[in-house]
Amino acid sequence: MNMELIQPFINSLDAVISEIMRCSARIADVTMQEGNYQRTGVAALVTLSGDIQGRIILDMDTAAASQAASDLAGISGEPSEETAREIICELTNMVIGNSVTQLNDRGFKFKVHPPELFLIDVGPRGTLDSETVLLRFELPKGAVYLNIAVHDNSHELVGSPA
């Protein structure tokens, strides 16, 4: 696994959670995943294409989504399904946006597609040429999962026809 590509996503998740939810996200578990992704709570997926190719899934369990709804929108108790979906898309947008900023500053150029709600229970595998890493972050209330399947495509693009 290329940590140069993974680390910005970890840093960004930590920074966004810290800023929005005023708490720290502790990495509780890191696993390499070979099978399909099994959704835990409310999740959103972002696709990248260009120098970096692949997809990232951000997934929050109910407790974390409730806390995020409270911190982001002042909602107490368990948020409605619609609110939880809006929140996961906004958090994903911020985490990926901050990661993209860091990666772009390191010279990677790529396109980021808008977050899509990840509604099916069992999602896609990583692409054939990507290793998939699943990180579980523990929050004071609940957990957030970051599923990353990306690879450095810049060398392939250099040799490809225009």
């Binding site: 947008n93 911020m94 990926i96 946006g97 772009n104």
Partner: protein, 56 residues
């Protein structure tokens, strides 16, 4: 302009296209309030430097 993507090319492009300021999300409410006040003031003008400060 408010965006989660705050790399330099993005900021410059926004300012060149008429944005008067650039703020990267997540936004700190206190800083955002000051930026809105600044942008709404008559003397506000696009400022890449100020945009960079807003990211920190």
């Amino acid at each position: 302009m408010v965006s989660s993507v705050g790399y330099q090319d993005n900021i410059l492009s926004a300012l060149q296209k008429g944005a008067r300021h650039f703020v990267q999300k997540p936004v700190k409410p206190e800083a955002f309030y000051e930026i809105i006040r600044y942008v709404l003031s008559e003397n506000a003008a696009p400022s890449p430097t100020a945009a960079g400060e807003a990211q920190s």
